[in-house]
Amino acid sequence: MMEEVKDVSAGSVHGDTIKVTEVLQDGDTLTFIIVSQKLSGTGEYHVDRTYDDFEWLQQHLYTQEDVPGIQGVIFPPLPVRPQVNASAKVMKQLGFLALGEWQPYCRALETFLQQVVAHRLLSKNPALELFLTSADPPGRQKIKKNLFNRLSQAMEEMRKEGHKDVDEFFQTVRDQNLQLTGSSRTAAEKFLDVVLTEQKIAVACGHFSAALHLCVEPGQDPDHKAFSRVCVKLSEVFDSMRKSMMSFSLNDLNTLGLGLDLESRHLEAEKEMLFRRTCKLVELESARRNAERAKPVRKAAMEEVKKASETEFEQICEVAKQEPLSARPCGNAAEESDSVV
């Protein structure tokens, strides 16, 4: 498990205290207010950030060149870009995060930041400090997209996903991850359906309650009065059912819904890391073959490439083992198994 980082996580901010307190909407733009406590205990940082700023931060994390084996990191997942009056496709992608007036979305952003701050390797990135503390927006220049962006992976690379591992531990982790990613995504989708239907029921109860109110009849006729009374009472019952259903739905959304969403996105991030490692493995094995088969004139160069590949791979594995992986076969296996290179 990730160890609690008690001291400086991101320069001057106490990681646990990061909160996305508000979201402001101006036309189509959403701005998030982020509040965090100074480590020095002398107050708070208040900054406003848009999604572009979050992407900026994420890109900087990806391109941290000075950390060996950075590809072995499970990068805290950033939620999909939010859209005001989202299209159906975007609503589906956002899932739970599109509901509840952006409150779950804010929690997801919060979690993202807290996870980055708590990460032993990522927290040292200067971009993070800037993001959390600078009054001005940290910078909007686009950085070149790199391999980390899963969307850019070519189809041929998908074949590698199934490539057999040289390490039993990692093979287990990959298998486990594959299963969990599927199950958790399905569970999240199904639960989203439940939450949405609960909301529909709440709305229907409201309509029924309103329709009952319309049945109230004026006049002194005792039968009419009796009927009106019944209708008013029943209308009240259905109104309270509406409130109750709404509150079920919101509660479900903010607890299990959000939980399933975070879980499934985390598993996706783990999957991506494992894939990067697998790609490196494929590269390594191909480098070895090249080195073996190389003609004497090229041999030395190939050996260099092979050595570099080996080192990179080892580093990635080292880093990966320190990450909070979904499968932890018998505690000590991680330390015991060697890199088997």
């Binding site: 399905t186 569970a187 199904k190 639960f191 439940v194 229907a204 309509h207 319309l214 009849e217 019944v230």
Partner: protein
């Protein structure tokens, strides 16, 4: 055959014929509308060639007690002692000739019945046959005859073809429930309870097969009366409603119809979503179970499996609740909307094409009764003028003929006036009865519904409380 084409092709003619049938001097009418006791009249079923609203022929019991007033008082508050249940739907026969037979059981202590506890087998067309007889006898003199459940070609075909699935089971259950409510409503009516056709329906082991049920269905009658209402609107002498009560009631029922339709629509939407929730909860339960199986962490895995179980139980609760919503509300409201509008299939859009018949129709009939009375008065006036002129000619035959005609017309005018008063009186009583019943019905249903709601909520709480320790155990 011929009569079907009569029905389907030219309902207008049919109804034109019908108005003439309601002649002002038909002897049977006097029996029904007089206040005194009368000799027994054998019941006549409507002729199959022409469907015409005829004045009813009531069972003699009704008249041995003289007026209707006495009968209504006899009925008394809640000492109504007839209970009917429709049960045991059974498929008889095969293929497209197959039909469902229902067991109709009656438990009663009323003396009008021959036994205290008895049952018979009936099929759907028998119910339609009963309804058409009652409608043709009583509707146009002001009684609010309960409408029969509608035919459904789609629903019934599935059952005939032997499709044993959820939707055809639901269809049979819906129909069974509707038939039961129909019979209960019918016997609750003090006049209809004693009708020989009703008694025959409930008691006789064999019943002659009802024919032309297509034309006799509520929708069929409705089509005819649509035309009648148009005729009423085109009347040359417009009735000045001096009786404010009728004016007010008419408005009241129009409003009520609109309101109930809205309610019906809301409830249908609610029921639909609840069923959806049940399905979604079941699917989520499955996915949670799978997730639990994939998880390594044992406490989490166990909690997820438990969660799946709880969700499965809840899914069943949601289904039960949806059923309660549906049966208690949707059908009840549907019944009432049908009572107020015409025939009414399950299809709400059709309501907008139907003018009110049951209740507004009886109002229309009253207007027509008045119209006839007015017409006779006008005719009488003309005849008197003609007679006056004849006085000065030397045509004793013609004069005598004129005098005879006038005498006849005077009788008609008096009868017309009596008819009008009678129908007005009956309608007032019927409306009063309907209003009381409506409130009672609603109250009963609502109490049942709320009780079921409370139970559901309590059960929900129990399930979640049982789950809590599992959730807490996840380290």
């Amino acid at each position: 055959p011929k009569q079907d084409s009569l029905m389907d092709d030219d309902p207008e003619d049919l109804f034109a014929g019908a108005t003439e049938e309601v002649s002002l001097d038909s002897p049977e009418r006097d029996v029904l509308l007089s206040d005194g006791p009368s000799p027994a009249i054998t019941p006549i079923t409507p002729p199959t060639s022409v469907i015409a609203p005829r004045i009813g022929h009531a069972h003699d019991d009704m008249f041995t007690h003289s007026s209707f007033d006495e009968i209504e008082e006899e009925e008394g508050g809640d000492s109504f002692d007839v209970h009917i249940s429709v049960s045991d739907p059974e498929k008889v026969g095969d293929g497209m000739n197959a039909y469902m037979a229902y067991k109709v059981s009656t438990k009663t202590s009323l003396s009008v019945f021959k036994q205290r506890d008895f049952s018979v087998k009936r099929r759907f067309s028998d119910f339609l046959g009963l309804h058409s007889k009652l409608a043709s006898k009583y509707l146009h003199i002001g009684y609010i005859v309960p409408p029969a459940p509608e035919k459904s070609i789609v629903g019934m075909t599935k059952v005939k073809v032997g499709k044993e699935d959820q939707s055809s089971n639901e269809f049979v259950e819906k129909r069974r429930s509707a038939l039961e409510r129909y019979l209960m409503r019918t016997v609750k009516h003090p006049i209809l309870l004693k009708d020989p056709d009703v008694l025959q329906f409930l008691e006789n082991s064999e019943l002659p097969r009802a024919v032309n049920t297509q034309a006799l269905s509520s929708a069929g009658i409705l089509r005819m009366v649509n035309k009648a209402a148009d005729a009423v609107n085109k009347m040359t002498i417009k009735m000045n409603e001096s009786d404010a009560w009728f004016e007010e009631k008419q408005q009241h029922f129009e409003n009520l119809d609109v309101q109930l339709r809205k309610l019906h629509a809301s409830v249908e939407s609610l029921v639909c979503h609840r069923k959806e929730l049940s399905v979604n909860t079941a699917q989520f339960a499955k996915s949670a179970a799978m997730l639990g199986n994939s998880e390594d962490h044992t406490a989490l895995s166990r909690a997820l499996s438990q969660l799946a179980e709880v969700e499965e139980k809840i899914d069943q609760l949601h289904q039960d609740q949806a059923n309660a919503d549906f049966y208690l509300f949707s059908e009840l409201l549907g019944d009432y909307v049908r009572l107020i509008t015409a025939g009414g299939s399950g299809d709400l859009e059709l309501y907008f094409y139907f003018i009110f018949f049951r209740i507004r129709g009886v109002f229309d009939h009253r207007i027509k009764t008045w119209q006839k009375w007015q017409d006779s008065q006008v005719l009488l006036l003309k005849k008197r003028e003609a007679e006056a002129k004849l006085q000065f000619t030397n045509k004793p035959d013609k004069l005598q003929q004129a005098k005879d005609e006038i005498k006849e017309l005077e009788g008609k005018v008096q009868q017309g006036e009596r008819d009008f008063e009678q129908i007005s009186k009956i309608i007032r009583k019927e409306v009063g009865r309907f209003e009381k019943e409506r409130v009672k019905d609603f109250k009963t249903i609502i109490v049942k519904y709320l009780e079921s709601l409370v139970q559901t909520q309590q059960q929900l709480i129990k399930y979640w409380e049982a789950f809590l320790p599992e959730a807490k155990a996840i380290s």
